[in-house]
């Protein structure tokens, strides 16, 4: 185990390479999934709001109509 962690004396180069890859890839997943969930929630809220509200009058009529 000790020998494995020492990586033949190159631990200071090998483990940071693997560690950074892990951090960057997990970071990408967290950011992407978080963004998806946030957008899904927003879209859901807007859809619900649109459904709940009574239909707006025709758009072509002026503000005074």
């Amino acid at each position: 185990m000790q020998g494995f962690l020492e990586m033949g004396g190159y631990a200071a180069f090998i483990w940071p390479a693997y560690g950074l890859a892990f951090v960057v890839m997990i970071g990408l997943v967290v950011q992407s999934v978080g963004d998806f969930r946030a957008q899904r929630r927003l879209a859901g809220e807007l859809d619900a709001g649109r459904a709940a509200r009574p239909r707006a009058p025709a758009r072509s009529t002026g503000p005074d109509a």
Partner: protein, 251 residues
Amino acid sequence: MAGMSELTASQRFQAFANPARFMALSERLLPFCAGLTAVLIAVGLYLALLDSPPDYQQGETVRIMYIHVPSAWLSMFGYMVMAAASATALIFRHPLADIAAKSAAPIGAAFTFLALVTGSLWGRPMWGTWWVWDARLTSMLILFFLYLGYMALWATIEEPVRAGRAAAVLALVGSINVPIIHYSVVWWNTLHQPASVFRIGGPAIATSMLMPLLVMALGFTLFFVTLLLVRMRAEILRRRVRVLRLARTER
């Protein structure tokens, strides 16, 4: 005005017909992609860290290759996906092409960053330097900046159709860099070793090292695809949110 709203209705139909199908299909595909990615990377890590031998010249540092080389491949694969999607968006106006190109960029940028840093971590013990301004390293750094510029352009222009068109042109112009990266080790003197897998005459690398490399590369590629699907889904929803908000403020 009536004509206008008719136009936007048909545009909306065109814009959401394909994305709606994509949302349904990608939802079913995602669990398989994610599961297969996890299995491949787990097996790849076992092969790379425990099962494969140290190199007779480079010792244990060869294990950095199993991260570095797949990252570097994907940095270029990601750019080719982005450029091909950009071309499709410009020529055919396919509504998903634009979204695919935009979604691929941050993933490609992340892998370019990984290729650069892991290369540096490998270069220090093997070449005696963290960095040299030679053709391979410099063209990879340019690739990283191309990704950042592409993402910045998307972020700068608010309206998605205009942003997409400008970004697509940038992606296509920048694609000249991809063959330059690939052939940089042939055309110019460099510390970087030449291609040892995709070369005429087959891979010049021992099977015991080729296997973990290929498994990791496949795992990374599936990771890219899985994440691309997730990001495209988020982007489709973002555009839907934008349209709904615009519709609301119009009232």
